[in-house]
C-alpha cells in the first residue's frame, strides 16, 4: 500500500468536490421543486394529470439512473429539432445534462416520500381544522404541511445520501467530478485500492455530515 499515493490522490480528488457539490445541490433543489408539482398532480382529481404523474414516477423508479443519463445526453441530442431549439443551450453541456437527469430522478423518489408523508396524517385532523373555521389552504399550511415535513425528514435524508452517491455516475458523461478524477488517476497509476481509499474517505465524510445534520434537524422538529 502506497500511503503517499493515497495522500496525493486525496487532494487531487478534493478538487472535484466543488463540481460534485454543485451537481448535488442544484439537482436536489430543482428536484424538490419539481417533486412538489408531481405530488400536486398526483393528488389532483384530474385524470390526465394523475396518470401523467403516476407514469412519470413508475418509469423513473423502474429504470436505472444510467439509462436516464444516457437518454438525456445521447438520446435527445440525436434529433436535429432538439439541436436547433433553445433547449440545446442546456443539453449541449454535459454538466447540465447530468443535473437534469439527477433532478428528474430525485424528483420521482422525493415525490413518493412527500406523498407518503401527507398520507400518514390522519384525516380527522383536517376535518377538525375545518370545524375550527380554517380554510382549506390554511389547514394545509398550518396543519398538514408541518406534519408532513416532519414525517418526511428521515426518508429525505436517505434520499440526499443516495443522491450524493448517484452524483458519481455523471462522471460517465465526461464530467470531471470526484469519481471522474478518481478514475483518471486509476488509469494513470494502476493503483485502484489507494485511489478508492482516498475517494471513499471524501464520500464517507460527506455522507456522515449529512447524517449528523439531519439528526439535529430531526431532533429539533420531533414532538417527543
Amino acid at each position: 500500500m502506497n500511503f503517499n499515493l493515497i495522500y496525493e490522490s486525496f487532494f487531487q480528488i478534493l478538487k472535484g468536490l466543488g463540481t460534485s457539490l454543485e451537481i448535488i445541490f442544484l439537482s436536489l433543489i430543482l428536484g424538490l421543486m419539481l417533486s412538489i408539482f408531481i405530488v400536486i398532480m398526483r393528488l389532483s382529481k384530474n385524470m390526465a394529470l394523475n396518470t401523467f404523474s403516476r407514469s412519470f414516477v413508475f418509469i423513473i423508479r423502474g429504470t436505472p439512473l444510467l439509462v436516464q443519463i444516457y437518454f438525456i445526453y445521447y438520446g435527445l441530442a440525436q434529433f436535429p429539432a432538439v439541436r436547433d431549439s433553445i433547449v440545446w443551450i442546456v443539453l449541449k453541456e454535459p454538466f447540465w445534462c447530468g443535473v437534469l437527469a439527477l433532478t428528474i430522478n430525485t424528483a420521482a423518489y422525493t415525490s413518493e416520500i412527500i406523498r407518503s408523508g401527507l398520507n400518514s396524517i390522519i384525516k380527522g385532523q383536517i376535518e377538525s381544522a375545518t370545524a375550527f373555521g380554517m380554510t382549506k389552504f390554511m389547514a394545509f399550511k398550518r396543519i398538514l404541511l408541518p406534519q408532513a415535513i416532519r414525517q418526511s425528514i428521515p426518508a429525505y435524508s436517505n434520499e440526499i445520501i443516495l443522491m450524493i452517491k448517484a452524483s458519481s455516475l455523471v462522471s460517465i458523461i465526461t464530467i470531471m467530478e470526484m469519481t471522474g478524477i478518481a478514475r483518471k488517476i486509476i488509469s494513470k497509476t494502476f493503483a485502484p485500492i489507494e485511489v478508492f481509499i482516498a475517494a471513499g474517505i471524501i464520500y464517507l465524510l460527506l455522507n456522515y455530515l449529512v447524517t449528523e445534520i439531519f439528526k439535529k434537524i430531526e431532533k429539533k422538529y420531533s414532538i417527543v
Binding site: 439509462v67 444516457y70 445521447y74 441530442a77 440525436q78 452524483s167 485502484p192
Partner: protein, 231 residues
C-alpha cells in the same frame, strides 16, 4: 423498427440476449449477496464488540461509497491482484478477469451490505417470547433456528428483500462500464453503430421496466402468500 428486428440486420435478438444477461448477473449477485449477508447478520447480532464493529464497518463503507467506485475498485483491483500473484510465479502477461464474475461479485457485495440491514431488522422483529416459548417446548438449537427463527425472518424480510432485488437489477447497469454485454452495454454499442441512441435507450428502458414490473408482481404475490394469517 427495422433496427429492432431479429436476425442479422436487426438488434432485437442481441437486446433480448443482453436482457437475459442482466437477469443472470442480477440473480448471481443476489444469491451471492444474500449468502454473504448471513455471516454479517450473525456478527451484528453477536455479543462481541470486535465482530460488531467489523460488520458495522463493512455495511457503513459499502452503503456510503458510490457503487461506481466499488465497481472500479474490484474491476481494476482484481486483475491487478491476480497479475501480481501470477508475476510471483513468473508470468508477466496481462490477465483480464471475466467481467461477469467481477460484476456479479461487486453487485453482490453491495447487495450483501443492504441485505445485512434488512435481515438484522427482521431477526430483531421476532418477539423474544417465541424463543422462550420454543425452549419451553424443548425446541432448541438448529431445530429452533430452522423451525422458528428462519421462516419468520424471511417472512418479515420479504418486502425489504424485494426492494433490494430492484436495487440489484438497476445496479447491474453500472457493470456496463466493465464491458459486460448486458442491456445497458448492448444499447450503447447498438446506438453507436446505428447512430440511433434514442431508439435503443428507450428499448433498454422498456426492458428494465418489464424486469422490474414482473419482479414487483412476483414479490407482491409472495408477500400475500406468506403473510396469510397475519395482519
Amino acid at each position: 423498427m427495422e433496427l429492432l428486428s431479429f436476425g442479422d440486420t436487426g438488434w432485437g435478438d442481441e437486446m433480448l440476449r443482453a436482457c437475459f444477461m442482466t437477469l443472470a448477473v442480477s440473480l448471481c449477485a443476489m444469491a451471492f449477496g444474500l449468502v454473504l449477508a448471513i455471516p454479517f447478520v450473525l456478527m451484528k447480532l453477536s455479543q462481541s464488540w470486535i465482530l460488531k464493529t467489523f460488520a458495522n464497518f463493512f455495511t457503513t463503507i459499502v452503503r456510503g461509497i458510490p457503487e461506481l467506485l466499488i465497481i472500479y475498485l474490484f474491476f481494476f483491483g482484481s486483475s491487478a491482484a491476480i497479475m501480481y500473484v501470477a508475476s510471483i510465479f513468473g508470468y508477466d502477461g496481462y490477465i483480464e478477469i471475466n467481467a461477469f464474475l467481477v460484476g456479479a461479485f461487486c453487485v453482490g457485495i453491495i447487495c450483501a451490505a443492504y441485505s445485512t440491514e434488512v435481515l438484522r431488522g427482521a431477526v430483531k422483529a421476532i418477539p423474544k417470547g417465541q424463543i422462550e416459548a420454543s425452549h419451553a417446548f424443548g425446541i432448541r438449537g438448529t431445530r429452533m433456528l430452522f423451525g422458528v427463527m428462519i421462516p419468520q425472518t424471511l417472512r418479515i424480510a420479504l418486502p425489504g428483500i424485494g426492494n433490494i432485488w430492484q436495487l440489484v437489477l438497476k445496479d447491474t447497469a453500472l457493470i456496463s462500464v466493465t464491458g459486460l454485454v448486458e442491456i445497458m452495454r448492448q444499447a450503447h454499442v447498438a446506438s453507436g453503430s446505428t447512430r440511433n441512441p434514442f431508439l435503443f435507450l428507450v428499448t433498454a428502458a422498456i426492458l428494465y421496466l418489464i424486469l422490474t414490473t414482473i419482479s414487483n408482481k412476483f414479490f407482491q404475490k409472495a408477500e400475500t402468500k406468506y403473510s396469510k394469517g397475519f395482519v
